[in-house]
Amino acid sequence: MPRSAALYFVVLLAPLTAWAEVTLSGFVQQNTAFNTVAANPDNRHYKWLEERAQIKLDATEGAWRLLAKGDFAYDHLGRNDQSELREGYVDYAASNWDLRVGRQIITWGLGDLVFVNDFFPKDYEALFAGRPLEYLKRGVDAVKLGAYPEFANFELVLAPDFQESRIPDANRFRLYDPMPTVTNRETVKPGQGDAGLRAYRDIAGYDAALYLYRGFQRTPSMRPDNMTAPARITYFYPGLSTYGASLSGRAGAGVLSLEAAYYDSREDRAGNDFAVPNSQTRLLAGYQIQPAEDTSLGLQYYAEHMHDYGAHLAALPAGFPADKRWSHTVTARLTQFFLHQTLRFSAYASHNAGNGDHFVNPELRYSFTDRWWGAVGANLFGGKPWGQFGQLAHDDNLYLQARYEF
């Protein structure tokens, strides 16, 4: 892959420079995360240990634009497939519509590490292993059509192939597994793609948006072939449709964000298949203020409500942990800049009131020069063994990032 990617760059670049306005940029980076509590399941002491280089090509000519970001990575922990095309797309922009075709990162919605209407694939492993924030999102190979008539703005995203979110690797993180003895496992991905639509406009000074999605859950569900004597487990991505809305604007001294969505779990509308997530309502309220110069504080309240809770409980096999009907989570993020905004301290904390699930991520980042920056931070997890963060209670890590940009 790296060799062929490099070849593509050269082949693309030569005619492009003659034709369009081209800029090349990129970075080299070192990223290390080491365990502070216990070794990995594979007995290694590092969650992450790699060097990485990114080349970004940006070419514009009239209404056309080409952008390609290619990563070349060397992983010290035995993965050989970390080089990737992060983004690669062509844009065409007309006066009141535009089109983007190719691999692209899309983020919708208002949440800070809480996702209500952001249906696009994430990389949770990157988040938990102390990688830079941009690796939280995975690109989707899609067509995005934007239309901007007077009365509202529209974005339609069509992806011919389904792209899943990346969950942490079981060799590096301790993931909750209700059937650890079953080793015969397979993953079945949906054979079709998905579609999302966002419509947005200003309403009396507030940013209002509606969201529709028809596709699949981005994280897999598991189904054993037999409940009493399972021999094989199949991971699959249940069908999902969502209908959501968001609103944000000034309220008092800060910015208020409100978001809601109905998650229609199409493959189990009655809620009596334990392997498929129940239909849900998700609600988010966020408030961000600037209490002092160079300081910002963001608070969020996030709730998930299961629609067919009785059926869920009735269908749950013995030994499987039961979720609560309502899940309440609060999060806080404090960001403080120092030294003319070259030193930044930020701390994010999330706590679930029902099961004590929590996640804390403090980080200190300093720009040594306009090109060099480094960051040191920690990921701290806790809660019940089956909780999203509780299962990672022994995966606490300290991380370092250093990057030179050119």
């Binding site: 983020t107 901007y148 000074g205 944000s248 203020i289 600037q290 160079d294 910002s296 720009s367 306009d370």
Partner: protein, 266 residues
């Protein structure tokens, strides 16, 4: 000559009026200055190169394209759009401000790393603009009504005749005691400004270092803000400055925050 005094008044009248015209109040001077400094043209574009220099001479560079459009009269609503070129870790970041007189701005930021548009809280117009010695207010203006203004004297800055205006915040919540502005009597541009803290100690100093005529409009194309207490200073050059380019309202939108049009941000 019964009515000699009428002739006398008639003779003196023009003098009286011209005298009045010259004796602008502090508020009038600052209004004209705001119009000349922050509102000229229907719209405005510049490539802004900002050097942040510490007392040891170490430099950091912030470079952006700044677009500004007036939504009405001088002193009224404005929209700003900024696209960052430097430093490299914020390249492609965009920033949009809807500025309203007498209430807080609306601000949005586009973070290219995660492709997300975020609305950001902005109650503090006195906070630093991108880490420089300039505040948001220094870049986009402070409401005239927030201070009381008095012309203290007239004096020259270099060879330019200036009004010297003392502005004192009306409210008690301001973070400075007062400021003194030297406003050019002809162009009404501020040539110098000194900010004093509440203990009456001078702590910040602005200077307009170079003024050029752009489409006939006198424009401050080089300026410096110096923090006298820390020795840190910010030097700003406005390159490729231009006015009245016909920017449409739709440019100041989420669409273009996400995909800034090359024609406007080069």
């Amino acid at each position: 000559m019964k009515h000699w005094w009428i002739w006398l008044i008639a003779a003196l009248l023009p003098l009286a009026f011209s005298g009045q015209a010259q004796a602008l109040t502090g508020e009038e001077v600052m209004k004209k200055s705001q119009a000349a400094f922050l509102y000229p043209g229907k719209d405005f574009k510049a490539r802004v190169v900002m050097k942040l220099i510490n007392k040891d001479g170490q430099e950091r560079v912030r470079e952006m394209t700044m677009l500004r459009k007036n939504m009405g009269e001088a002193g009224g609503e404005q929209k700003y759009f900024m696209y960052f070129f430097q430093p490299s870790d914020v390249k492609d970041m965009t920033f949009m401000i809807y500025k309203y007189p007498a209430r807080d701005d609306d601000r949005w930021m586009f973070i290219p790393a995660i492709n997300m548009v975020k609305r950001i809280a902005a109650q503090d117009k006195r906070s630093s603009f991108v880490g420089s010695d300039f505040t948001y207010e220094d870049v986009s203006g402070r409401d005239i009504e927030d201070d009381s203004h008095a012309v203290e004297r007239e004096e020259k800055v270099g060879d330019r005749d200036c009004y010297v205006v003392r502005s004192t915040p009306k409210g008690s919540d301001a973070d400075f005691g007062h400021k003194i502005t030297w406003v050019d009597k002809t162009s009404f541009l501020p040539l110098k400004e000194e900010q004093y803290d509440k203990k009456n100690i001078r702590y910040k100093q602005f200077s307009a270092d170079e003024i050029a005529e752009v489409k006939g409009i006198p424009t401050v194309v080089r300026r410096t803000m110096k923090n006298l207490q820390t020795g840190h200073r910010s030097e700003v050059a406005y390159l490729k400055t231009d006015y009245d380019l016909g920017m449409e309202d739709s440019l100041f939108s989420e669409r273009f925050l996400r995909q800034p049009p090359r024609k406007w941000v080069d």
